[in-house]
């Protein structure tokens, strides 16, 4: 992976100026490289990783993993029905998977009821959805490489040879 991407994937707030210093390049070149990544869709978005458990009044208090069994459509396979499903704002992630089920969704809602209603009223009635299995998340430990725990304090002694 390009080091610019490695740096940004660790901390998206790192400025082009700082990246330039780290890689000993001109800030202008870094800016151009980033712009190119953005344009090509290599870099899609910059955002904060939020520990939802610590946020009050969040719309994403409850998360469920939902396995969906679908009947693929002629000509377009799974893509068309996947699009119908992932277009719902409640669906935060949608993957086509191998195994017993076809799609794996991550659905967010402000409470159990909201998520249950989404499954019962929006998802299940879809024509090509043959079945679902909903797993509510009880606790998040790690997400996208980030361990959801307070930063631990430095355990090194302050000075040594």
């Amino acid at each position: 992976m390009d080091e610019i991407l490695e740096i940004l994937s660790k901390d998206a707030r790192t400025t082009p100026e700082d990246i330039a210093k780290m890689l000993k390049k001109k800030p202008q070149n870094i800016k151009e490289a980033i712009r190119k990544y953005e344009k090509e869709g290599v870099i899609l978005k910059y955002r904060a990783v939020i520990n939802q458990e610590m946020v009050k009044d969040t719309d994403a208090a409850v998360r469920a993993l939902i396995e969906v069994n679908i009947a693929p459509q002629k000509d377009v396979g799974f893509d068309k029905i996947a699009e119908r499903i992932y277009s719902f704002p409640e669906v935060s992630s949608c993957y086509l998977i191998s195994g017993t089920y076809d799609l794996l969704l991550i659905v967010e809602g402000k409470d159990l009821h909201t998520v249950a209603r989404f499954v019962a009223e929006k998802l299940s009635p879809l024509e090509n959805v043959k079945g679902t299995a909903t797993h509510f998340l009880l606790k998040k430990y790690k997400e996208d490489g980030v361990i959801l725990k307070h930063r631990e304090e430095n355990k090194r002694i302050a000075i040594s040879y």
């Binding site: 080091e3 790192t14 700082d18 780290m22 890689l23 000993k24 002694i157 302050a158 000075i159 040879y161």
Partner: protein
């Protein structure tokens, strides 16, 4: 009271900056650039291997020389990566860090009055341990040669009593390292004068501008080298205390004699974790190395920009700038910087004579910390210079 302490230890010079260290340890909210160890924790697979070994009940002694499995892994690592072939049975010893290996070497090699060349600036234990073993350290200042050791400097200091030289590259505290060509030149001189190279390459994996060349991989060097390395810096395993020595059958046997009476063996937990480090830890080494390199680019430029002249180190995670133009000695600089801006650095005088104008800055600290430290140092310098 003093009489119960041996004359030798009484004569040992205590570190002149102990008081400064105590001052740092007593202060809160300090950004410390005074740390001689990685800021990463040991990679998880390695820690996990340590835990598993405990769960499985591996709590006994190991062979004096260390777990055979670990020696074999080191053998393979050195052979596959550098083409150096050390026999795991007879030419290798697992030690409590490089520190123990170095101490054993001194005690195994030196007769009273034998001299060991110690290029300075140097890591703090090299000289005193020569003394303790009854030898005589001969310090070679590299300051006027941009901290680089060259054949001329070595030859100038050799006499009939010279037995060995300590090499340490990339170096603590300067970060200086050597290309294959430079090392070959040094090797030729050592072979010519039959001076044993004791090569501490614990920072070898953290070499940024060219490939690291282990000293024993040079032509005809293996028989004339005691190669010391360890897991502390590459794998962020300082607290596990695992190092190793590779050398001739004769030297390793002699070192093992002392090791078996004093240490017996390295903790089995640590040895088992080290085995894992050589297997799955390499990826982490590369990642940490890239990170250190990025910090190096930043910190060296920044130090020079704010007025602390600093050469560019090729490895390790230290910068060794001069503070001469502040009008302060390294110790005064470190004290004032700590007091006024709460940034800790190590005075250069810790690493040898004639280094009063320098401080050691460790960049084994997060980029945010480094940025903040630089901005505080900048403030500090501006205030000084009016």
């Amino acid at each position: 009271m003093k009489k119960i302490i041996s004359k030798k230890v009484q004569e040992m010079q205590p570190s002149g900056i102990r008081a400064f260290f105590d001052l740092v340890l007593g202060m809160k909210d300090v950004i410390s650039l005074g740390v001689g160890e990685p800021d990463f924790v040991t990679p998880w697979p390695v820690r996990e291997a340590g835990i598993t070994s405990l769960e499985e009940g591996f709590t006994s002694y190991t062979s004096n020389k260390g777990l055979y499995k670990l020696r074999l892994s080191i053998h393979r690592y050195l052979k596959n990566n550098y083409g150096i072939d050390y026999c795991p049975d007879e030419e290798m010893l697992i030690t409590v860090g490089v520190s123990e290996a170095y101490d054993l070497a001194m005690r195994a090699l030196l007769n009273p009055g034998d001299k060991v060349l110690v290029p300075t600036p140097s890591y703090v234990s090299y000289g005193p341990l020569v003394d303790l073993a009854g030898g005589e350290p001969v310090y070679i200042s590299t300051k006027d040669n941009k901290f680089k050791l060259i054949p001329g400097l070595i030859e100038k200091n050799i006499d009939k009593k010279t037995r060995a030289i300590v090499l340490n590259y990339p170096a603590n505290p300067t970060g200086i390292s050597y290309t294959k060509k430079e090392l070959s030149d040094i090797n030729r001189v050592l072979l010519k004068h039959k001076i044993l190279a004791i090569s501490d390459e614990v920072y070898g994996d953290l070499t940024y501008d060219f490939a690291h060349t282990p000293f024993p991989s040079l032509p005809k060097a293996k028989e004339n080298t005691l190669y010391l390395n360890g897991f502390s810096k590459s794998y962020a395993m300082t607290g596990w205390r695992v190092g190793f020595a590779c050398g001739s059958k004769e030297i390793i046997a002699a070192m093992t004699k002392i090791h078996q009476y004093t240490i017996m063996c390295v903790s089995i937990t640590s040895q088992m974790a080290a085995c894992e480090a050589l297997v799955t830890g390499r990826r982490s080494v590369e990642e940490m190395k890239r990170e250190y390199k990025r910090r190096r680019e930043f910190i060296i430029d920044a130090l020079n920009r704010i007025g602390l002249n600093c050469h560019k180190p090729q490895g390790a995670f230290y910068a060794f700038p001069s503070v001469k133009n502040t009008g302060l000695s390294g110790l005064e600089f470190a004290q004032a910087l700590l007091k006024e801006e709460k940034v800790a650095v190590v005075p250069g005088s810790a690493f040898g004579k004639g280094l009063d104008d320098y401080v050691r800055i460790s960049y084994a600290s997060s980029f945010d910390n480094l940025k903040e430290a630089i901005s505080r140092m900048d403030k500090f310098l501006r205030r000084r210079n009016g």
